[in-house]
Symmetry: D3
Subunit: 178 residues, 6 copies
């Protein structure tokens, strides 16, 4: 079948608020990547709307194959990323973004967006430099993987007792699956 | 001077309507590329807000180094791009976009966005797969270059008399410089 | 079937003059890309012979995925390209090329080659930095697309009356299809 | 000064055991990247020796710009990585590696290596697909950044009380700075 | 100083025969790369004219950073390349090229062009997929490097006596430096 | 079938000495590329163990699609590469590597490793910046291709009599096929 205009179009409803209630962290990411929009194939870009409940967040995560650029449509966001390991690394860079501000999260770095306002939602539009950027939510990958990462590994990594890790994993599991 | 959070931030006011009155075509593009946001360096992405007056347009143009993905924030847009030359080429793909719809303009193809509504402005957010995508507005490049392209060249290219080209160039010049 | 020497070979007859009479613009491009020469797959290059009738031209066009380097085999060419939009953009860079001269047309920029001599043909060999560079002839894409671009769009883009656009499109159509 | 053979050489002593005692996690990474070996510039590769104390580990981390391939020189390693978020994502893929085995950690994914043996060290040689792959140790970035990430953010991300986060950050800080 | 049309132009005289008499192998390569034509910077392409004396050749060589596409302007060329090592590798692919034929030499493979005609020169135009493709002439690199490669290495590599290597190196040196 | 941990794992036995007796040059390369390890697909890296008999060598060769980084595990290696053709090119850069040293061979350049010790084997681990780097052993490609390269070509290339080439080819063939 020949390619046509519909291959480059998605009635994505990015103007409409998403439900942030089902999310434990108070956010909802609507990503339009090559799976939703086949015309993106080989073209190295994708787009997302992100909704944040009051005090909600897009929790610390990375995109293994993309840089992200973001602008705030509604509300306020406290955003940040952590630089990589070096002699003077693991620096946290943060900024409070108001409506219309733009921020960049470089490829592969751990970053977050947090709505610090207790009574208003926030909305952002983001774009990513890959047709399929991927996302790794740190808490989910570290404490919520299937099967779980061994508590031998995580106890030493986070420098706590294995019991603490077991409890963190159990908490995380319970919060996400009940 | 060390890199800091400000290198990744721009108070771009992308939430605020731009003046579309000064533009002959009734649009205004606010591009945030690596010149405005140094943290974009090497990262292959940029972002823009585009304002369209009623019946305004972002006229036929190309980005020599980027694909564009766009979503409509306000109003309605009639958008399109033309495929490249082949046996069955130069096809026009168009779509009417309403608020929240997403569309892709593949790298290097001629495309446009037109606000078909006579009494309401439109607004879009676009992202481009380059830190410095470039833009070539066809009319400006073809009829408004400095110095002008020879009418010998353009007359045959557009298959009209040289006088027609001279008149088109003069019209374009007058409209853009008075 | 195993790959063999024929996959890297094309009896392309690039030494032989092409007919420039059927072309409305007085030129003929013989492109050897990955469709003609399967061995080019993944290798990022292609080659073309271009014949120009006296006063013929390769009209303003872009290659969405390639830079072009060209040398003149026979005759004289007046060549040029237009820089992209910036504060001081849309500059026309031109040069008269004689036999043996080399010129570069950067990726995605609008460029042309014109044979300014009224009684001699010209010939060039060009190479392009893609196995499938694509080509967008501006006049064909803007005034000859199928279906045509709306005259609402083009009238404002070129800053003329809609009637002028309709006439330009009709002229172009008639010249190319009769 | 002209380039010479020394620009492509490093007396890196990758054959010699590194001290794993100073490390809280019982490992030591000796990375030879473009800072140590200028001849790597633009060439897209680097190499590392990793020493693991008995029960030591290279804790969960990512490389924002590189894939890693690793072979075990001495001892045994329990290794793993977590796939990215999807409907069926956050899967943990693990393997026990013996001497001579090879494993791949795809670009940007969270991975670890753990020496499960209580009385023998382990050693691996790894290579990375970047002249400067970067490394982000999850615990250090999340609980040990300078300044710390807000406990408002981390409490909700990890779905525990803020006091738990404060305690985890304090523990991590104390263990790493005393 | 601003960029101008001269940065994209080279009066390269690629139409004019080069002297093939000074060359021991009977050929002369005139390469137009980024050193001759600064406008090629970052654009991934270059062009060359190659002259072949009767029975002359462009001897076995590789381009470490480029694929080559070639067309014959005058005469006849016997061309070939050798595939890389595999179970069924080191295959020689050859073809006799007449005027106007096109052939591709994939990146990094050893290839040659030979003029098999005893009384007529040949000429080709080639293009390469890099602004600076590099060239490694096998005989020069293996038997003519400065300083010479150890005859211990070469004797076993070519499976002859060291005296044979010494003689081959001396022959090569004498022929190229007297 | 779903991807699983085995796709990223190879029981490659890179710790075990390989037989260097069957090789005419006294070496054995065990390459783990995407054919052995499907998880390497699109990831741009591969790894090899190289065994060298006393006085054995990995003879002059190139990788058409990869840079190589190497460290010595056992013994001593005399290594080198030859720079490409330029006014002051074809320089031989060499180094004696001891256990633990690291060396880089840039993409596409002719290089070798030689064990200069008469009574001890050597072992190296190398990594290459491609999932399928390819290898072209110069002697095999030049004197051992199937079919052989014409002695007309090789005689002039190496600047010896055709009889010498025929003898070199016969020697090489006999040594490698008997």
């Amino acid at each position: 079948m020949a390619v046509n205009a519909d291959d480059f179009f998605k009635a994505a409803k990015l103007d409409q608020p998403r439900d942030t209630m089902k999310s434990k962290v108070g956010s909802n990411v609507t990503l339009i990547n090559v799976m939703q929009l086949p015309g993106l194939n080989t073209l190295g870009i994708s787009m997302a709307r992100i909704d944040y409940a009051p005090l909600g967040q897009n929790p610390p995560h990375t995109h293994p194959r993309a840089t992200e650029i973001l602008t705030v449509l509604e509300g306020t966001l406290y955003v940040g990323f952590v630089t990589s390991n070096t002699d003077n690394g693991n620096k946290l860079f943060t900024k409070v973004l108001n409506k219309g501000d733009v921020f960049v999260f470089p490829q592969g770095l751990i970053h977050f967006q947090f709505n610090p306002v207790h009574d208003k939602p926030a909305v952002a539009i983001a774009a990513l430099s890959s047709q399929n950027p991927g996302a790794i939510t740190i808490a989910n990958a570290v404490f919520g993987s299937k099967p779980p990462i061994s508590d031998d590994v995580l106890a030493k990594a986070f420098q706590v007792q294995k019991g603490t890790i077991d409890w963190l994993q159990a908490q995380f599991w319970e919060n996400n699956h009940n």
